[in-house]
Amino acid sequence: MDGVALLTITVLAVFVGFEVVSKVTSTLHTPLMSGANAIHGIILIGAIIVAGQAEDTATLVVALIAVVLATANLVGGFVVTDRMLEMFRGRRKAPADPPAAGEEGER
């Protein structure tokens, strides 16, 4: 792909990123940081490509280290984000409605 096309995609991605992330509720800022963190683990693709092209042992070893690190970032990031979000179960009531007395007993 030529440079200008890649630049176009980059610029559009910046706008999409700002647009989507500015709508994230502040309640979820920690999962956002962890989720965004997981997404950059996709560098795994790059690590797989360089490992697959490696012709000597030294290159392969360094590339495999990159694969291990990137996988840790990707897998760990998604697992921990999911674990956090699993805990955000909403109640049966409308938002901003203060919880009524007695609800504790039902849990």
Binding site: G3, I9, L28, S34, I45, V62, A66, V67, T71, P99
Partner: protein, 457 residues
């Protein structure tokens, strides 16, 4: 093995990129967030399958083994980590991602065709190394393997300028001629820069640095996408760069600081330094029974949770106390400072873990007007986020930070371990106010006593 032609490969990468966008979009509400993350991880899986089916790859057994090793290390850690340790874990994962990006760039150097590609390589290498070293140091600070206070030494400013100049020189040589030694030098300089970037940052500001380094890793990944001509890496990296930038700015605003002030403030002399010495000025402390009376006969109670609550694992007990008070017909809510805990939104996660409905969590802007009609503000393990020094003391490290104005409530109760100042190391005048009562002890133990005393009323 090439089973997919370039067109199908591009289409599948596009689907993955859309999955990542949906993952971030899902976070606009707690109701859709988890589904979004599942879509995102499906996108990542699809992308990995696509790269295996679309490229001519050798060493596939080795690659699969490395993926298995990475998963086997990360997944159990991610499952078991305590929610209080989330900032450290994010810093660690961010660091290894940055390190991976730097290594990929280093290995692509022999294949670089022209100076533009080498420019992208130089950028990825340097930023990836900064992110790796900076994140590891951040991890050490948060894990308290080293001091959480700013580390400043004479000549730090000069050293920083020298290192920056060296980075520019090595980068220029790398872009123009592309020798391997310049790449190695740039990586080493990047590691040094990451350490110099984080050393002078004080404990309270460390979460902002995590967010900034997250944005850096995103940009490094985007640049490595340019090196490899891979659109997915460009899009995913750019998304993370944008989200990290927004979060960094939002957090800095929540603390009333500028990003430059956080990174370079310590150079101007002690601006983030505080004290770790316990004060011996007189305060009014009381027993759990007396405070239970105060709480039990109030009409409106606001709970102000801080990091101390999380450290003591008292989230479940505070949720029970909320229930016991509500049974008495008292209006109870939680006032959440944006940087309560050690990361923005961290307190929300900690309370969600204790099954506190997110609907009873009130954000600072909405909570502050409510303190004037509050009978008792119960501050549990928080200090800096309610410290009026942020408004009244211009020289204070937290000056300018918006705070929860618990001083407006009729009575203030602090549950504290000791008179030692908080994470930022600043004394809190509110502790010496006549309407303030203190209950010393571990947050969970104090809450348990309070809960029993309220039930006995």
């Amino acid at each position: 093995m090439i089973l997919l032609d370039p067109t199908w490969t591009a289409v599948l990468y596009l689907v993955s990129a859309v999955c990542f966008i949906l993952a971030l979009k899902g976070l606009s509400s707690p109701k859709t967030a988890r589904r979004g993350t599942l879509i995102g991880s499906a996108g990542a899986f699809l992308a990995v399958v696509t790269v295996f089916l679309s490229s001519k790859l050798d060493n596939i057994p080795w690659i699969l083994a490395a993926i298995a090793v990475g998963s086997a290390i990360a997944a159990p850690v991610a499952r078991r980590v305590q929610m209080t340790q989330m900032p450290q874990l994010v810093a660690m994962f961010n660091g290894v991602g940055g390190g991976a990006a730097a290594l990929v760039a280093l290995l692509e150097l022999p294949h670089a065709g022209d100076a533009w590609v080498r420019l992208a390589i130089a950028f990825t290498l340097f930023i990836g190394a900064v992110s790796f070293a900076g994140s590891m140091l951040t991890f050490a600070k948060l894990q308290e393997l080293m001091t959480t206070r700013p580390v400043v030494f004479p000549g730090l400013a000069v050293l920083t300028v020298v290192v920056a100049a060296a980075a520019l020189a090595a980068g220029a040589v790398l872009v123009v001629a592309g020798p391997a030694w310049a790449a190695i030098a740039l990586a080493v300089i990047g590691l040094a820069s990451g350490i110099l970037l984080v050393l002078p940052v004080g404990g309270a500001d460390v979460p902002i640095v995590i967010s900034l380094l997250n944005a850096f890793t995103g940009l490094a990944v985007a640049a490595s996408g340019l090196v490899l001509g891979n659109v997915l890496l460009v899009v995913a990296g750019t998304l993370v760069g944008a989200s990290g930038t927004i979060l960094t700015r939002a957090m800095a605003a929540a603390m009333g600081r500028s990003v430059q002030g956080i990174l370079f403030g310590a150079f101007r002399g002690g601006s983030t330094a505080g004290s770790t010495v316990a004060s011996d000025r007189p305060v009014r402390s009381s027993t759990a029974a007396d405070i239970a009376v105060l709480l039990g006969y109030a009409q409106k109670v606001v709970l102000v949770p801080g990091y101390g609550l999380a450290v003591a694992q008292g989230q479940h007990t505070i949720a029970e106390l909320q229930g016991a008070l509500e049974e008495r017909g008292i209006e109870v809510s939680y006032a959440i400072h944006p940087v309560a805990g050690r990361m923005p939104g961290h307190m929300n996660v900690l309370l969600a873990e204790a099954d506190v409905p997110y609907e009873s969590l009130v954000e600072m802007d909405r909570a502050n007007p409510g303190f004037r009609t509050t009978d008792v503000a119960l501050v549990v393990g928080a200090n800096d986020v309610v410290n009026p020094a942020a408004k009244t003391t211009p020289g204070s490290p937290i000056h300018g930070m918006p705070i929860l104005e618990v001083g407006d409530a009729k009575q203030v109760v602090f549950l504290k371990r000791s008179m030692r100042p908080g994470f930022a190391g600043i004394e809190n005048e509110l502790l010496f106010d006549p309407k303030t009562t203190l209950l010393f002890g571990d947050a969970k133990a104090s809450l348990t006593e309070l809960l029993a005393a309220v039930k006995a009323l």
